[in-house]
């Protein structure tokens, strides 16, 4: 069964059970035109109010990633993102003249179906609101673990009214264009039915998940945005290590590691440090202190058995090896593993970071593949950062960001300007006709 937690602007905490997508589709089709009539400025204003509501809700702010989400949804940022994605936000409202008697408009794709990964609950909100900004209708299928967080987040979007050019607009129309659902991820029938409704499919998740959904039947006109599994790491150059800000960089690294249980595609798994006056062991010891300090704020480790077993085994391997080192907490609060092999290690997660020393941060270039998403960098030399970014992005990296910002959602993401993909670029070309 499909469990539907929000449909037609109405919330149901226990979920309404549907045997198929007919009712969901009918509701979305009914409401689609009303959203289309909204000037995009109205949607931005509603989202801005939504961001304020989130920012003052202590309970909701406890959900991982929500404080940043609230910042991201501010008007100034959304306008910036739209401009970056579309060039001109007016494309979303009307045909904009681009040449002599040539006009362009960004029309909605139609129904956008989102399959969300379970590890980052806020991702569903980023995904669906970008689609709403493009005036699409949405079926948002979230994982079992995320249902309640996404439900609570969406509820805050209810009953917002904004004034724009003398008219009043309600957020209800936005909610009427979102259907929040859950069904078993292995249910091929429901996955297929949902896929067939989609004019665009946005899939976030593991390789198994994205492969399975990619193979489902779909409309020939359907656009796919696949955000599959990715790997991320961090680099610290000599200038950063020998600077007064080094300790702050280490703290920022720890926050990047801790966020989303280190399971995000942007979570660092390895830290490469450039040779400096500090020995790798000293750096590991300093990192231990930062972990001890910061983990006091994040006491709920809540490791799954499988992750705990992986961490214990990796610790054992590094402790027993004569040529490796390990700096570990009491219990499984954190694990720092050191060896000299310049390679990317399989992600252990559970606050496990591998540290490797390199002569030059550019030595990581041969390790880059298309699977690498984010490199978190600490450096005091902007020319060096540009050179490094130029090299690593050539080989496959999508983002190079300052350490501490690795998990902050941004556009472009995974090499993609998402909103520019969620519209149909339509044109009028009547030059010389009239």
């Amino acid at each position: 069964m499909i469990n539907c937690y929000e449909i037609n602007g109405e919330f149901n905490k226990n979920g309404i059970k549907f045997e198929n997508f007919n009712e969901i589709e009918t509701c979305l089709n009914k409401n689609f035109a009303k959203l289309h009539e909204f000037p995009v400025q109205v949607i931005i204003l509603i989202i801005n109010e939504y961001s304020k509501r989130i920012a003052i809700n202590r309970e909701i702010l406890r959900i991982e990633g929500v404080p940043y989400l609230s910042f991201y949804l501010k008007k100034i940022n959304i306008e910036k993102q739209l401009k970056l994605n579309l060039g001109n936000i007016e494309y979303l409202n009307r045909f904009v003249q681009v040449e002599d008697e040539k006009y362009i408009k960004a029309q909605p794709k139609g129904v956008v179906c989102h399959w969300m990964a379970g590890n980052v609950p806020t991702l569903g909100i980023y995904s669906v609101l970008q689609s709403i900004l493009c005036k699409n209708a949405n079926i948002l299928r979230v994982s079992k673990e995320s249902v309640s967080a996404v439900y609570e987040l969406l509820r805050l979007l209810d009953n917002i009214e904004v004034e724009y050019e003398g008219n009043t607009y309600s957020s209800k129309i936005i909610l009427k264009n979102i259907s929040l659902i859950y069904f078993n991820s292995e249910d091929k029938y429901f996955n297929s039915q949902m896929s067939l409704k989609a004019d665009a499919r946005i899939v976030w998740g593991s390789k198994m998940a994205v492969d399975a959904i990619s193979l489902l039947p779909k409309k020939t006109t359907c656009k796919d945005l696949i955000f599959g599994p990715k790997y991320s790491f961090a680099v610290f150059d000599k200038s950063a290590i020998e600077s007064n800000d080094f300790e702050e960089y280490l703290e920022n690294l720890v926050t990047d590691i801790i966020a989303f249980s280190q399971k995000g595609c942007s979570s660092p798994q390895v830290l490469f440090i450039e040779k400096s006056k500090l020995r790798i062991e000293q750096i590991a010891q300093m990192l231990c202190i930062k972990f001890e300090k910061i983990t006091k704020r994040y006491t709920n480790l809540n490791l799954e058995e499988a992750i705990a077993a992986k961490v214990i085994n990796k610790r054992g391997e590094y402790l027993l090896s004569v040529d490796k080192a390990a700096y570990i907490s009491n219990g499984l609060k954190y694990t720092i593993l050191i060896d000299s092999e310049i390679k990317l290690e399989e992600a252990i997660t559970g606050r496990t970071i591998f540290i490797k020393e390199v002569e030059d941060i550019l030595e990581v270039c041969p390790l880059i593949t298309k699977n690498i998403q984010t490199v978190g960098i600490a450096s005091k030399n902007s020319d060096r950062i540009l050179e490094f970014a130029e090299r690593v992005t050539t080989f496959g990296v999508d983002r190079v960001v300052k350490i501490g910002y690795m998990n902050f959602y941004d556009s472009p993401w995974d090499g993609c300007l998402i909103m520019s993909e969620l519209v149909r670029w339509c044109s009028i070309n009547i030059k010389g006709m009239i």
């Binding site: 379970g118 590890n119 976030w204 998740g205 790997y231 402790l319 219990g331 699977n371």
Partner: protein, 370 residues
Amino acid sequence: MEDLELIDELVLAKQFNIEQEKKEKLLLNIILPQLERNRENVNIEAMYTKLGIDISSIKTLEQVPYIPVNMFKCFELRICKKEQVVRVLQSSATTTGIPSKIYLDKKTSIRQSQGLISTLSSFLGNKRRTMLIIDNADSNKKGDSITARGAAIRGISTFASKTFYVMDKEKEGLNLNIDKLCEFEKKYKDEEILVYGFTYIVWSKFLKVLKQQEIKLNIPKLKLLHSGGWKKLISQKVEKKVFSETAAQIFNTSASNVIDFYGMVEQAGVVFIDCQYGHKHVPNFAEVIIRDIQTLQEVKFGEEGLIEVMSILGTSYPSQAILTEDIGEYIGIDDCPCGRRGKYFRFKSRVEKAEIRGCGDTFAEREVGI
């Protein structure tokens, strides 16, 4: 130096009769010198150094550094000289494809057998009985190396006056020889006998086959011991109760005669057998610490965690503290109604290896060159 006399005393004497507080002191006195000796192995020495272990300052068994059980697959954790190794025990390698290798010298091998006998005596008495082995004789063939199945068969066979193997080895695996089984039943149906088999083999190659062919046996006075292989059965949704009741029906006996015991090749000689109250008890020469999966500290009564098995039996490999990948529930100390002293617990499951997957679930190097 090891206190050899005390070790022998703890291994050979009646089991399950030392109160916890006293036992902890006794074991600690034996284990600390053994840890010193473990330093002869370069890997163990590396581990103790990195952890800053000061053996003289260890005051409780919980503080003894443990070795994750999988490390016996990655390192040669041998304490004795190569030429002193009389046998290498190997695990079944079901999960990783790589078997654990446990190096036994003569002394360790003898102590493990003695430990097993001491423990089993508490449940089976000392009388030797005819034994039916639900396996093929090849599992226990002589050689330098022996599998977990072979080690278990060999250990339990010490309680046997005669042994009968009832499975034939064929290309596609083990097949039940029904004629042999019926012949055995005819001859020994009224006697007290022992039956042993690996849990998975007993279920899939024996009980299921007999059930399918609607064959029922009549050997009511048996004790069926089985161990290992629960992982496969749990994946087939076969629970312990179902297993015991099915076996009892097939043999025409009471389910209480079907006895599950927990042990591992890395701690051969230390087995945990269910008492009549369904609790697993720890023999005098061993200890169990159930560690919380987050803090790695010992859990409280009623809580679950990773099972660490400690033992004083090993001198040729570091058997003192091995952290398993099994989950147990800590039940109590010294006060089981069955009268056995020391800690008691329940085996719950293997560690769940499936984890929640997310968008970071990849390994960068898998797709090099794409």
